[in-house]
Structures are given as structure tokens and as C-alpha cells.
């Protein structure tokens, strides 16, 4: 006998309020929190997926193939162009809208010979 009680509850040990709250409140809340974390954490770290019709908030990017896979003559041109660009980097050039090249006069644009256009 832990306490001096008699009757049907004589074998039960007394539980404090803190223990009761811990079992009936703390554990369920902990389970809820664990599931919420599992549900929302992957979405919070992921980039939003593109949906047609939404604005595009990112800076323009221009991807080029890796120079290591190009044939020799093409690679030579790429390397020379990179070197030229590095030389230009030190100088201060006027801020131009994206897509324009200070080196290239507007009249020289005649390299495009064909292609296509698509909209969605």
C-alpha cells in the first residue's frame, strides 16, 4: 500500500497534474507537431513549380554547353570569347539593358538565318 487508502483504488499510485498534462496533452501535441513537420517541411524548402500564366520572377540566364564536349575549332572560339569577356570585366561599361552587347553595333545583327516560334 502506497497510500493509506482502502477500497477499489487502493492499488493506484497518485499522479501529479504535470504528469497528467504531459501524457494527455504533451504526447498528442508532439504527435501532431511531428506530422505537421513531415507534411510542411518538404514544401517549405522546395522552389515553387512553374505554372503557365504566372509571372517569371527570376533573372534571365543563358546556358551554354560545356566547352569540354565541343570540337576543337568551336572550343577555340569559345575560349577566345571567354578571354575577351574577362578583359572587358575590368573596364567600366555603361549599364545597358539585358540582351544588348556594347561591342556589337546594331547594324551587325544579321546572323539569324532561320528558326521557329512557339507560344503556349
Amino acid at each position: 500500500m502506497v497510500s493509506g487508502r482502502t477500497g477499489p483504488f487502493a492499488n493506484l499510485c497518485p499522479v501529479s497534474v504535470a504528469q497528467t498534462l504531459g501524457v494527455f496533452l504533451g504526447i498528442p501535441l508532439g504527435i501532431y507537431a511531428a506530422f505537421a513537420l513531415l507534411v510542411y517541411l518538404p514544401g517549405a524548402t522546395r522552389r515553387p513549380r512553374y505554372r503557365p500564366g504566372e509571372p517569371w520572377p527570376y533573372e534571365p540566364v543563358w546556358y551554354a554547353p560545356s566547352p569540354s564536349v565541343l570540337d576543337d575549332s568551336t572550343r577555340a572560339i569559345v575560349v577566345a570569347a571567354q578571354q575577351h569577356r574577362r578583359e572587358l570585366e575590368g573596364r567600366s561599361l555603361p549599364q545597358l539593358p539585358p540582351g544588348s552587347d556594347p561591342v556589337l553595333p546594331a547594324a551587325a545583327i544579321a546572323t539569324a538565318k532561320g528558326g521557329a516560334r512557339g507560344e503556349w
Binding site: 512553374y50 560545356s66 538565318k113 521557329a116
Partner: protein, 139 residues
Amino acid sequence: MSGDADRVLVSERYAHPRPPSPFRPKQLARIDEALSMSSAETGLYFSLYVGALDVPTRGHAERLHAELGELAPQAVVLAVSPGQRVVEIVTGAESALRVPDRSCSLAALSMTAAFGGGDLTGGIVAGLRMLSDQAGHSS
């Protein structure tokens, strides 16, 4: 309220440590592989622009192509503007012979089909694959 007039707000330009890329690393790897493989197989120079295009978009895409300078004759520029829902394919003197306009239209069609479903990476990879298949191997 009048006391707020002499309050000076000092804000500094917040420089993002690394501007966020529109693509996840895995998607970037797929795009990089598609660009490099199609360029290596065909001997053409495939490059991909993703971002806003000045109106008229065709003119901007052709300017991008011209910026490639000595590479322009063998270059194929894919310019994708997800915000404007436009894709432009530009070919040069040599690449236009290898990839006729009909094939470019077909590639653009397959790209826009994927883009319309929200799959940017898939559309880009599919378009590059179709263009490089049409160009064939370099002699």
C-alpha cells in the same frame, strides 16, 4: 504624426548571397547534359536562354544569336520566356542548313506542349533532343 517627419529611414541594398536559380540542381543537371550532348553529337553550338525577352521577342532572340559572334553560324539559340509564354528558336547560316525551319517548328511545338503542362525542364530537354536528332552527326 509630425514628429515622424524628421525620422530618417536608413535602408541598405540587400544583396542576395546567390541569386536563386529557377531550376533545381537535378533539373539543371538534365539541362546541362542535354545541351552538352546535343552540341557534342552534332558539332553545332546549342545554347539556351531562359528569361524575359524584349518585345518584339523575335528581335531579342536574334540579338542573342548575334552576340555569339564567331559562333553564330553554327549556333542554335533556344530562347524561352516563361513569363511571356513564348519560345524562340534561332538558327545561323550553317545550323539552318542542318536544322530546317520545319524541324524547328516541330521542336517548338513539342516544347510548348510540355511548357503548357508546367514542365519547363522536360520541354527544354525534348526540344534539344529533337533538334539534335534532326541535325544528325557531324561529319
